[in-house]
Every structure is written in C-alpha cells, then in structure tokens.
C-alpha cells in the first residue's frame, strides 16, 4: 500500500480548526458534482461536457443517471470548449468540465473567442486546479489560469473556498446567462460557512473581523488564513479574513476598506504571484493611493517544488504557520524589507 498523502494541516492547525468549530467537509469537486447532478435532474437543459474527464470530474454518476445530458468528447480540450459554446448558443446551459491546467491553456483561444467574445451562457469548470495534482508536476498545475482569465473580457472568475461556496457558485452560474469560469481542487475542505450563507458573485465574504491585519484569500487557501487568524488572536493580533471567491469582477470596496482600516494586507492564492488575486489587489490599491503594508502569498515564479499539494503549500508558506509568521513580521514596529 502506498503512503497516504500528507495532510494539508499540521496537528497544531487541526487543533485550531477544532477549537474554531470547523468541521471537515468533502472535496469541493465532490460538492460540485453532486450540485450539478441535482440541478440537471431538475432542468433537462443543463448539459455537462467532458474530455475523458468524467472520472476526474466525479461525473460518473451524472453520466449514468442522465446519459442524454452528458457529452463526452475524448481527450480534446479545444473541442470540449467549442462544443460547450455551441451547445450554449443553441439554448443549453452547458458546463465544460476539464482539469484547469488543460482547460485554460490548451483551449484558451476557444475560451476567449467561442465563449467570452461570442457571449454565450457557458460555464467552464476547471477541476483539480492550482497544485491539486501535486507531484505530477507543472504540466498538471494551473498557476496561470486566474491571470489569463482576468485578462479576458466578459467572464466572471470564481474560486470557491469550501463546499458551501462551491454549491452557491454552481447555483449562481446555472442561473446566469453570462460566461463564467469556476475553479477548485480535489482535497477535502473544512466547511467555513453555514448553509444559509448569502453568496453573490462579485461580493466578498468577511469571515472574521479585525483591524491589525487583513487576509484577502481565495479558494482553498482561505481556511489557512482563517486558522492563522485564530493563532494570531491568541497573541493579541486581530485579523480580518476575507474570502474573495470572485477574483473577477473584484470586490473593490471590500479590498479598499481592508487597506484603510487594517495595518497590513496579505493576499493568499493557489496561483502564481503574477497576475492573480494579489496583483489585482495591488493594482487597485496603488491606483487608489492606499498606503498599507502589503504582501502577496502564492507560488513564486520558479520551478515549483516537487511534492504533494500539502508539501507545496507548506513550502511556499500557504499554511497557518506560514501566514501567521508573515503577519507578525508585517505588523512589527520595524518595517520589514
């Protein structure tokens, strides 16, 4: 038997999660698949398109229950997006589901032209995003997708943090007539919200109030910021934790308020430090004339270290411990270099 994948959380982080009352949910991927199936059972117009990815997309049961609503195109991501767009143009609410690494690189031109420029009601679902595939290497990582999708007009970019946000995002896009890109990973996630949580595309959710340091995090990094906030509180540091589930359009008001009210702002994302949430916030704050200590946490522009997702997160400080340490250094009286 192979060794189990390393945990995303150290025993100390797990203890903090328990203390904070967080319960472990399922993978956002599983939540997505279950939500899409529920919606598709109620609406025959919903169609999933897969590129030999129904297994990795957890859509096997969908295909068995609703065979007429699943289109398999084989390993052909360009075709996947073109077909998803054509279905949407003819009245279907189509979901193109493929690993984020292939979907947003190989078929970027189809995303740009067939979906976004043509303005059809298609949803592109990037599964196993970021470094979910861990040691499989950079071919399988999507550390560019937020950057490229941000630079394409007419698409919302949504990165849910937990099962509740994932479910809400899929419900929102199922009702939308506009292009949307949703990306998430495949590791089990702590549940951060109550099921009644109000979710709106483009409106960040503040999970915790505080004025010393603000963590603006997206996707599956939000939990690490929330745990860091718990640790920091024990040392008297009050942290604000914002789930920026919509990277585009960015909730500018929430970012600007955080910069105004807090002594430091730290952005966190499972993405290259180039072109993602961090630089979106930096651009906004710079142009608004904000004067705040600011750091972007993400994957640096280098050959990504080999390891499981948890190893990679820890290596680059996307962890409770890493974020706690960064926050301390950032708000210390001696201004960090």
């Amino acid at each position: 038997m192979s060794a189990p994948a390393p945990s995303m959380f150290t025993p100390v982080a797990e203890a903090m999660a328990e203390k904070s009352g967080l319960k472990m949910g399922r993978a956002n991927l599983d939540e997505f698949a279950a939500t899409l199936m529920e919606l598709a059972k109620a609406n025959a117009n919903i169609v999933a398109v897969t590129s030999d990815s129904r297994g990795s997309g957890k859509l096997g049961p969908f295909g068995q229950a609703l065979p007429r609503q699943l289109v398999e195109v084989g390993i052909a991501e360009q075709n996947l997006v073109g077909i998803t767009a054509g279905l949407a143009a003819c009245g279907k609410k189509s979901f193109g589901v493929s690993p984020a690494c292939f979907l947003t690189a190989r078929s970027l031109e189809q995303i740009k032209n067939d979906v976004c420029y043509s303005d059809v009601p298609a949803t592109l679902v990037g599964i196993s995003a970021g470094v979910s595939y861990g040691a499989l290497g950079s071919t399988h990582h999507s550390l560019h997708d937020l950057a490229v999708m941000r630079a394409i007009h007419n698409v919302s970019v949504v990165v849910p943090a937990d099962n509740v946000e994932t479910r809400a995002a899929i419900h929102a896009t199922a009702k939308s007539t506009k292009p949307m890109y949703v990306r998430f990973g495949k590791a089990a996630m702590y549940t951060l919200h109550s099921p009644e949580m109000k979710f709106e595309i483009g409106k960040a959710i503040t999970l915790r109030e505080g004025n010393d340091v603000a963590f603006i995090a997206t996707g599956e990094t939000v939990v690490h910021a929330l745990l860091a906030a718990g640790q920091l509180a024990e040392r008297g540091v009050k942290s604000r934790v914002i789930s920026m589930h919509t990277v585009k359009p960015l909730d500018a008001e929430t970012v600007l308020r955080a910069a105004k009210e807090c002594r430091a702002v730290i952005t966190v994302e499972e993405h290259s430090v180039h072109g993602g949430l961090g630089e979106a916030c930096a651009g906004l704050l710079m142009q608004a004339g904000a004067n705040v200590r600011f750091r972007i946490v993400g994957i640096p522009d280098e050959d990504t270290v080999t390891g499981a997702q948890a190893d990679i997160f820890r290596h680059y400080g996307i962890s409770m411990e890493g974020l706690e340490m960064l926050a301390h250094s950032l708000i210390s009286p001696i201004r960090p270099m």
Binding site: V71, A76, I83, G86, A89, C90, E109, N113
Partner: protein, 277 residues
C-alpha cells in the same frame, strides 16, 4: 430563384464585396470571391433563416469558420435584408459594428469567428443541441482548405462522426491557396475526400461555382447517421481576371484603378448574362 437569377445575384454580390473592401481599406478579397457562390446558394436556397426568423430557436444555423471572408458574408446578409446595403460602407471604420471578422452584433451572424479552426467544434455543439431537443434544424459551417491544418477541426471531425450528426454539414472552400501560397506546398492536406471519409463522414465533391451542384449537395444530408462534408472546388478571386488563383489577393485590397477594372469586368459579365436570357 433560378440558376440564372442566382448567377446575376452573385455578380452583384461580388461587386458589393469588392466595393466594401475598397471602402474599408482592408479585407480578404480572394477568399470572399471564392466562397461567394456557396454563400449565395446557402442563403437563397438552403438555409431556413431570414431576418424575421433569426430569433427562432428552430432556425438553421450557419457559422462561418473562415471568418476572414466576412465581407462576402456581409454582402449576402445585406442582400437578404438583415441590414441595409448602405451599412457595408462602414466596415472596419472607427466605432462601426461591422468588424473585420464576424460578430454577433450583426443581425444574421451566429458566432464570433476569425481565429481559424473554431467553427466546426462550435457546430458540433449546435448539432448536438438539435439532436437533444429532437429539433429538425440543420447546422452548416464553411471552412477554408488552408484552415484544415488547425487540429481542432479533426477533433471535431471525430466527435461529429461519433455522435452521428447527420444534421451537420461542413463545406470546404477548396480554392487550394492560402496566404503563403499553394496549400499543398505550405502543408499538404490532400486527399481531402479520403481523409473525411476515413473520419466517418459522407463526402461530396462539387464545383463550388455551379449552383445546381451546390444545391444538390447542400439540400439534404448525404447519408443518414453521418455528418456531411461538401468539398467545393473553387477559384480564389473568382470573377475578376487578375485576382483569380493568385495568392496575393488573399488579403489584397484593390486600388481605385483595380476596383474600376474589376467592376468593369463584372459589369460585362452581368450584361452577358442578361443578354443570354
């Protein structure tokens, strides 16, 4: 509409296409003239679509994959009443809705195209939607032969046969020229008919300037359970002597003198057709 009426219309539309490109100061002349007779037959004999029915869910769909031949498409759509012919003068002008490639801002246009290799996958999606809805509309796309080097066409070719999309017809504007020269010199894709047959398509080869042959090939699916590929043998720059079969007219824009000469040739062709009646 009789063949002769279509022939006369094609001469008129060629003039409009050339005038539009001249006014725009940009455009794709050679490919527009090579596919014009195909568009004329599609919009006047085949497609169940009109300005009145364009919002109907059951209209036939046409997606121009070789989006660069948009001036010819604009001319045909104006002639069919989707918008006024006067608007052709605004193509590519500052703030015009008439971009140098098809966009859905223009009445009658289904999808934004221009990057090559996109039309066929989109049409596979459209044809699948029709099958899912048990709708009887047909889906057509027009591809350039040079465009076939884009691998996405072949991905879509596999899927269309796999899903038995006999409501889908792909027309290849087979003028054998692309921007850099002869397609067989740039990157040979022959024999096209065997390739598409081996992909599971029903294939018809026609003269792309013969209205009867085009009509016969396009009026119904070639074979139940198979998508149809119509290879239309055409001449790039068709209808203007100095543009015919010359690669440089791929995106050449006529000078005032060249436009005058081209329109003169087309006037003469028109007169000849009228006299023959």
């Amino acid at each position: 509409m009789t063949d002769r009426e279509l022939q006369l219309k094609s001469v008129h539309l060629r003039k409009k296409t050339l005038e539009a490109i001249f006014e725009a100061g940009a455009g794709h002349t050679g490919g527009g003239l090579s596919c014009l007779d195909i568009l004329n037959v599609l919009y006047n004999r085949i497609l169940k679509v009109s300005p009145e029915t364009f919002s109907s869910a059951t209209r036939d769909r046409y997606v121009q994959s070789k989006g660069h031949s948009v001036e010819a498409l604009y001319a045909v759509l104006a002639d069919r009443g989707f918008f006024s012919e006067a608007e052709l003068k605004t193509i590519c002008h500052y703030k015009s809705h008439f971009v140098g490639h098809p966009t859905r801002h223009i009445p009658g246009i289904e999808m934004n195209t221009g990057a090559l290799g996109h039309g066929l996958p989109i049409c596979v999606g459209m044809a699948l939607a029709a099958k899912m809805d048990h709708a009887s509309y047909r889906v057509f796309t027009l591809l350039g032969d040079g465009e076939l080097a884009e691998g996405s066409n072949w991905e879509a070719g596999l899927a269309a046969a796999h899903y038995k999309l006999d409501n889908l017809t792909a027309i290849i504007d087979h003028n054998t020229l692309q921007i850099s020269g002869r397609t067989h010199d740039v990157c040979s894709n022959e024999p096209l008919d065997e390739k598409w047959r081996s992909f599971g398509w029903a294939v018809k080869v026609v003269n792309g300037h013969n209205f009867a042959e085009l009509t016969e090939a396009l009026s119904k699916p070639a074979e139940a359970g198979k998508p149809t590929c119509v290879i239309a043998n055409t001449v790039k720059g068709k209808g203007v002597s100095f543009m015919e079969d010359v690669a440089k007219w791929h995106h050449g824009v006529p000078s005032e003198a060249e436009l005058k000469q081209a329109l003169g040739e087309l006037d003469a062709a028109e007169k000849k057709l009228q006299e023959a009646a």
